[in-house]
């Protein structure tokens, strides 16, 4: 196979996934936030939360449609673009794909019930059905990530003459990378989505012609989303640290390329930023903090961290992984900081004023949604690139997995056009809908008297 054929196939599949994961992340996170809003409404009888749930759901139905269809694209394109890979998947790690179909079915059925039958079922059942949507979505994410964690740490089979033998399907499912990777993917989706919704609230709050009733509603939405974003942000950082320790043990090359560590080092420094240079085998520039990488990876400041020199140079992953990794960590850290600052404002100024957030802060929050999605994309790109040249680590190279069929380039162009169409379409449809159905139509104009005060911090 000529190399550019592999590059084209990777570009097509990468574009599909890059597009899908935006909607998939929203699809995992929004049901959780809707469930939280519904429960808050049930506890406080503050109608603002019911309206939040209603309006988020309205946007969610469009996003879910894009998420489901692009998910179908990804599921089938796996077989169309990487037939050799899927041949192994079918023999060894097919179970998560199969179970995922049923998880998705649960999500789809309860989503229909929550959206189309909401007026015919009692409120308790609505909470139940949206919770099942959230559970179904989370299960889908966990199961698909399991297939990816198998690609990192393949277990439960041997290859003999192109066929898998000695197959243990459940051993493949419960591979060593599963716990850390699953946790990180799910929690980071729960971190990203609140920030996306916080962006919407902040966007409304900076407008001049906002009524005080609308301001009250959006402030509540902002506080709820910032709290959830910050909370899951801290958990994401913890799970990221555990993932790093896992890599140090199981996939040292993947950690080494993330940190730009060329040589196996005792008391290895953490290098933030900088440009890894293959010829001098050093990171140019960047901020060096002595011993910290060893501490993060091994819990000891003088621990030994394996470098890229432990594997042949022909098997090195692309060095750009370091940049992607640092961007992911950097964005995540900034987001946690934004949430913490928000919490400080609220705690310090809430007694004096009903609207504690200054305008400059709101402008920063307006960026948080795009930062969160950026962090997700960088994290995914890092996870995939740093496994190269392997598609199944140590067993099958990406170039071996690719389809033999022609016309991949034509398909790539068609799919780029499709995703451009979906981007424009989804944004215009959502904008038009919310312009035609402004918040003012939904909220009760008078002051509302919740039964209980808000229970969130």
């Amino acid at each position: 196979m000529p190399l550019n054929h592999v590059v084209l196939a990777r570009s097509l599949f990468g574009t599909s996934l890059a597009f899908h994961i935006i909607f998939a992340t929203l699809g995992v996170g929004i049901p959780l936030l809707v469930a939280v809003a519904e429960i808050t409404y049930a506890l406080t009888r503050d109608s603002d939360y019911a309206i939040m749930a209603k309006r988020w759901t309205r946007g969610f139905t469009v996003i879910l449609a894009v998420s489901i269809t692009t998910g179908t694209i990804v599921a089938l394109q796996l077989s169309l673009l990487w037939p050799r890979f899927m041949q192994v998947v079918g023999q060894v790690i097919a179970l998560p794909f199969l179970i995922e179909v049923f998880a998705f079915f649960i999500e789809a059925v309860f989503m229909s019930i929550y959206v189309y039958a909401a007026d015919r079922i009692p409120h308790k059942w609505r909470i139940l059905s949206v919770s099942f949507v959230a559970i179904g979505a989370a299960m889908s994410a966990l199961l698909i990530t399991d297939a990816n964690s198998f690609m990192n740490t393949p277990r439960g089979f041997r290859m003999e003459n192109g066929r898998a033998v000695d197959v243990h399907p459940w051993l493949a499912v419960f591979n060593p990378a599963l716990p850390t990777q699953d946790t990180h993917v799910l929690i980071s989706a729960y971190m990203a989505v609140p920030f996306v919704l916080a962006t919407i609230a902040a966007n409304a709050l900076v407008r001049r012609n906002i009524s005080s009733r609308e301001r009250e509603h959006h402030t509540k939405a902002l506080m709820l989303t910032l709290f959830l974003g910050g909370f899951f942000g801290i958990l994401t950082a913890i799970s990221g640290d555990l993932s790093g320790k896992f890599l140090a043990k199981y996939q040292p090359a993947k950690l080494a390329v993330a940190e730009g560590l060329f040589h196996t080092t005792k008391a290895a420094p953490l290098i933030i930023g900088g440009w890894p240079d293959a010829s001098t085998q050093q990171v140019i520039g960047g901020l060096r903090i002595p011993g910290v990488l060893s501490f993060l990876a091994t819990d000891r400041f003088d621990g030994v961290v394996k470098g890229l020199d432990t594997i042949p140079k022909s098997l090195w992953p692309p060095l750009i992984s370091h940049e992607l990794f640092d961007t992911m960590v950097g964005l995540g850290t900034l987001l946690i900081l934004i949430a913490v600052i928000g919490w400080l404002f609220k705690t310090i100024r809430m007694r004096k004023t009903q609207y504690p957030f200054p305008k400059w802060y709101l402008f920063i929050v307006m960026l948080s949604g795009i930062m969160a999605i950026g962090a997700i994309e960088c994290g995914w790109l890092y996870a995939e690139l740093s496994r190269q040249p392997w598609t199944i680590y140590g067993i099958m190279r990406t170039a071996e997995a690719v389809t033999g069929a022609p016309y991949v380039g034509t398909m790539f162009i068609l799919f780029i056009l499709l995703y451009a169409l979906l981007t424009i379409g989804t944004i215009s449809v959502l904008r038009a809908y919310f312009l035609r159905h402004p918040l003012a139509n939904d909220i009760e104009p008078g002051p509302i008297r919740p039964r209980k005060v808000v229970w969130l911090p």
Binding site: P83, M111, S112
Partner: protein, 340 residues
């Protein structure tokens, strides 16, 4: 029966379910468009209402089929993956446009018509493209390159057999969706929609059968191996034809929405399709793609088969009550159907 045969039966059952559900789904989209501007008939409203919650469930079966093929026959998935790159990706593009534009149409009142137009038309093209997989599996359109096969698109699209399959697919879609929407308007007690869809069933049924015969004739002309198998299954085809006549008679008898004989007609025609597909599937055995992939040489290992069957049984056990609830809430529920 061997494990591989059981797996083939399971896979073929999924094809059957998706064929019926997909026909109804895509066909309803088309009828929602067709009757969009005709405010005198509520046929469009009935079709839209039917469609809203249904497409996600239909989509599940498409993915379940694709995943089951990879699980049960991984080596066939390898061959088919290489061969179907172009038709498969085109189907995915159409499927995405169709579904997403349909959901856009629900959200945007102003552009509902152009959006429904695009989703309705793509909904007709999808079954047409899906049906090209049948002539591909029938053999003769692929060439060997190294260790894999690639599809010859020009040979596929210059063969008349391809077009008879495509015509049968589109007609079945329109026929089955009219049939189900008729039953749906019966449950909703909507007289005008019922009469519209019943009239369509009465002329689409015979046309579909005629095309089915042309399709069988073109198979005989292009694939002698399959003709041989089809003749052996002759008695199943006779049974299928009888069920068709029974179904049409029952629809003819049902003149009012309250006539229950319509429902018997629906069941008879679904059984007609089941019998015909069963016979076709048996005639096709043991080849998934003639003559390069048989169910025996592409079957998965015993451990994966056992685990997959276990997951499928548990999954279907969960799926079934969920589906019943879904059915009660949307498809058999007067309150939902009559809500304006």
């Amino acid at each position: 029966m061997t494990d591989a045969t059981w797996a083939a039966v399971l896979l073929w059952t999924l094809v059957f379910i998706y064929a019926i559900a997909g026909s109804i789904d895509f066909g309803s989209g088309f009828w929602a468009l067709f009757y969009f501007k005709r405010t005198d008939v509520k046929a469009a409203m009935i079709a839209s209402r039917y469609l809203s919650p249904l497409w996600e469930v239909t989509n599940v079966f498409l993915v379940l089929f694709a995943v089951s093929l990879v699980v049960l026959f991984p080596h066939a998935a390898f061959t088919l993956g290489n061969m179907l790159l172009v038709p498969g990706n085109l189907i995915l593009i159409l499927l995405t446009i169709r579904t997403v534009f349909m959901v856009y149409a629900h959200t945007s009142e102003r552009f509902a018509y152009p959006l429904k137009f695009i989703s309705g038309i793509t909904g007709l093209l999808i079954p047409a493209l899906l049906l090209t997989v049948f002539p591909i599996a029938q053999g003769g359109f692929s060439q060997r390159v190294g260790d894999h096969y690639i599809l010859s698109l020009s040979a596929l699209f210059s063969s008349p057999a391809t077009y008879t399959y495509v015509a049968l697919g589109i007609l079945s879609e329109l026929f089955l969706s009219s049939l189900f929407l008729g039953d749906y308007s019966r449950v909703a007690d909507d007289r005008s929609a019922f009469i519209t869809y019943r009239r369509q069933v009465l002329w689409l049924g015979p046309v579909t059968i005629i095309v089915a015969f042309i399709c069988l004739w073109s198979i005989s002309a292009t694939a002698p191996w399959l003709r041989h198998g089809l003749i052996l299954q002759g008695s199943w085809f006779v049974l299928s034809g009888t069920l068709f006549l029974l179904g049409m008679a029952m629809v003819l008898l049902a003149r009012k929405p309250t006539d229950f004989s319509y429902r018997i007609g629906v069941i008879a025609i679904v059984l007609q399709y089941l019998m015909a597909m069963f016979a076709y599937g048996r005639a096709h055995m043991p080849y998934l793609v003639y003559p390069i992939v048989s169910i025996y040489d592409s079957f998965t290992n015993a451990e994966m088969f056992r685990a997959a069957i276990m997951v499928l049984i548990i999954g279907i056990a969960i799926l079934f009550p969920g589906f019943i609830w879904f059915w009660r809430l949307f498809l058999e529920n007067k309150a939902y159907l009559q809500k304006s």
